[in-house]
Symmetry: C2
Amino acid sequence: MKLTPTIQRCVLHWGEMGSRWGVSRSVAQIHALLFLSPEPLTADGIAETLAIARSNVSVSLKELQTWDLVSITHVIGDRRDYFLARKDIWEVLTTIMDGRKRREIDPTVQMLRDCAQEAKRDTETPDQVKERIATMLEFLEEMTGWYDQIRSMPRPTLLKLMRMGTRVAKIVG
Amino acid sequence: MKLTPTIQRCVLHWGEMGSRWGVSRSVAQIHALLFLSPEPLTADGIAETLAIARSNVSVSLKELQTWDLVSITHVIGDRRDYFLARKDIWEVLTTIMDGRKRREIDPTVQMLRDCAQEAKRDTETPDQVKERIATMLEFLEEMTGWYDQIRSMPRPTLLKLMRMGTRVAKIVG
DNA sequence: CGGTTATTTCAGGAATGTCTGAAATTTACG
DNA sequence: CGTAAATTTCAGACATTCCTGAAATAACCG
């Protein structure tokens, strides 16, 4: 895949953003490249285009597959793996958000549940602190519950809702 | 501030999560401690409670202030600074989200705008790629626009909307 | 099988991020 | 002012993460 200035810019930017999102620069760059590429690419091709080690491409692609953002295809008469990114931006974004929720929010909710449970037998932590923990748990549960509901809605419905913006409040309220 | 097992657990967990969110462990731990603490704390007190260097506390508190999550108070007859975290979880969360949007999403939207602009004069990047960039820009603008609208709604309205969950779709659609 | 190509594993080096402690600076009081 | 307490700065130690290149493994073909 030829790396035109425009594509390069996207790839580099995506790479920088990636490191803020908890994935390595390579992973993010590879994802950007595959996302933009009209055709599937080989691991060797990616390594060459981005000038990174072949082995690095291998592990990065594995990670992208665990995120469900990249899959493998094959072409007849060629035994190399060809890699392909999800092209639907909506799916890409929701996949990433779901993953982050699972890795970052859900464990926190669990921890708070445990703390709230423990707090009953716990005489040494001040009531004010216990209450703050309880409030936080309640809030997070409400938020994640909402998120799950939103996610369960069919996309066209959600899109319509989004386009209405603040007007929904007037109609409902 | 006394570090009971329950509090310690929250602080440690928050610290681990923090590093996934792009803030250092110290910053996250200090934030957790201040958030739970019923009273404002001194920097020395924090350093002692969490067993981290005084200087580390100093820079971490500065960072938390740039995030608008922590502020300073004073008590009469004491010239030390006392630090105080926002206690309203809703505000804490929206403050963090606003910050992340500003630091991560907005620059990406800007980059995509620049690329889309540049694409007009650009003859070497394939049209398919240009189109993908355009789609992505469009989508992100729609999402951020929705976010801004949601954020502009008064909290009780939003809360009501959240509690309705998927039912809003039925009423509206 | 043996040979060839593709992929993965992994030890160690490079780069980055974090924390500490000493020294410098600021602030406030007598 | 001079002094002492409080805070900040910053160089370098420490830790973590990331990447590479060599070697091992797997997949395929004649």
